[in-house]
């Protein structure tokens, strides 16, 4: 008897979570709990409750997979890399091939890695993490800053001061909370060298998501996403995807009563 009730409880909650995963499902849990007596509840261990309601247990809790298709990447020209001569050796696994000297990314791999990156972003947003969009190309500044504003997060699409992460107390005149995730829309600066944020985030134990083009080094980036970082269409697509992932993550967040 006890076992079936417990199983019914589990089945109900799992069904809830796979459908909506919202605050209502917590209510469902409560309502089911009211119908049970103390001794029956004793069977449901604390760990099981945690297991049911923990978003980390689900491969795609926020549904980021639905945000894009491979065709969207193709239309936004994400698959265009630079020329053969500028290829970084570490990017070789992600290149589909070279079309008359122009490198083409394998969009299947890109799609998979982009999904991982979006999923990570959504989870960080769910936990109230500070997300910083970084880019150094003046062409994309407006796009990046707008996306960050719409997502309710932060952007730094301007000239990078070397001490922002490593000497933050001096730069911001006091103790500041550093970002919990850095999303790089381009891992190079206008001098075609690696952006300081990549190294500094790795130093300060901040995970990074970076759009790595064929001439960038993905080694220090936690979740690299191989793709084109120069076309405005591609950058607009990335900004929209990350913004949507963040908003999805925040929408699932339960309201914290202060």
């Amino acid at each position: 008897m006890i076992r079936t009730i417990a199983n019914r409880l589990k089945w109900n909650t799992v069904r809830c979570f796979t459908q909506t995963c919202s605050i209502n499902s917590d209510a469902f849990l409560c309502q089911n709990a009211t119908s049970l007596k103390d001794d029956q509840l004793a069977d449901i261990k604390e760990s099981e409750i945690k297991e049911i309601s923990d978003p980390l247990r689900f491969p795609d809790y926020f549904g980021v997979r639905k945000l894009f298709r491979v065709k969207d990447l193709f239309d936004a020209r994400v698959h265009y890399g630079h020329k053969d001569g500028t290829l970084d050796p570490n990017m070789k696994p992600y290149i589909f091939g070279s079309r008359l000297g122009h490198l083409i990314f394998d969009l299947d791999k890109t799609a998979k890695m982009l999904q991982d990156a979006l999923n990570f972003t959504a989870h960080i947003a769910y936990r109230g993490g500070i997300i910083l969009f970084v880019s150094h190309f003046p062409q994309h500044t407006l796009t990046v800053e707008n996306a960050a504003k719409q997502a309710g997060e932060y952007a730094h699409a301007r000239e990078w001061d070397f001490h922002i992460f490593t000497n933050s107390e001096k730069v911001y005149n006091g103790v500041t909370r550093l970002p919990d995730l850095v999303i790089l829309l381009s891992t190079l600066n206008p001098q075609m060298q690696e952006h300081t944020a990549v190294k500094d985030a790795a130093k300060m134990c901040i995970p990074t998501i970076g759009i790595v083009d064929s001439n960038s080094n993905p080694n220090l980036i936690t979740y690299p996403v191989p793709g084109n970082d120069d076309s405005p269409a591609a950058v607009q697509l990335y900004c929209n995807l990350f913004r949507d992932a963040i908003l999805l993550g925040k929408s699932k967040k339960p309201v914290v009563s202060t």
């Binding site: 980390l56 247990r57 053969d84 290829l87 050796p89 570490n90 070789k92 696994p93 290149i95 589909f96 091939g97 070279s98 079309r99 008359l100 490198l103 083409i104 998979k112 890695m113 991982d116 999923n119 990570f120 989870h123 960080i124 936990r127 109230g128 993490g129 490593t166 919990d180 995730l181 190294k199 790795a202 130093k203 300060m204 134990c205 901040i206 995970p207 993905p218 080694n219 220090l220 980036i221 936690t222 979740y223 690299p224």
Partner: protein, 167 residues
Amino acid sequence: MASSRLERIGNIYSRVRGLLRSGAMKPEDKPIWYDVYEAFPPKVEPQYGRTASEITIRPIFYPEDIVRAKFYERFGSPGLISLANNEYPTPCQKFLDRYKEMEKDFSDENELFEAVVKVMEEEKSVPESVSSNQTDSGTSMASMFSSAVSKSQTQPKINVGDLLTEK
């Protein structure tokens, strides 16, 4: 709160894990991303000195490229092509579609090619042939040169001898 700034040793996860295990970082100071990273680790571990794989980049060629090459050799480049516009096929694309249709009727490639050219020229779907005035079909450079030569031959030449003779 302890931290480790050594970006070239391990990765952020291994360093934070080490700090937590050793007790230098307290469990309540655990970063937000730690659990998420544990649940969804990246497919390739970020490592500073990761050696690049010995993959050779394969060139991308399609069977249609042979036909394309022949087409451009014969007709030259149409000038500007808008890559963003997918509605209107270029002359080369139209040629390829017709080539595919007529492929089953012919066994020899050259014959098929000439046949398709003939059909397209009748429909006026292709630009004027670049090497139509030539007897020998050489490389595109050679054909351009010979076309330039033929053009200069039609222009009136100035005979220096005539200038000096009395009239």
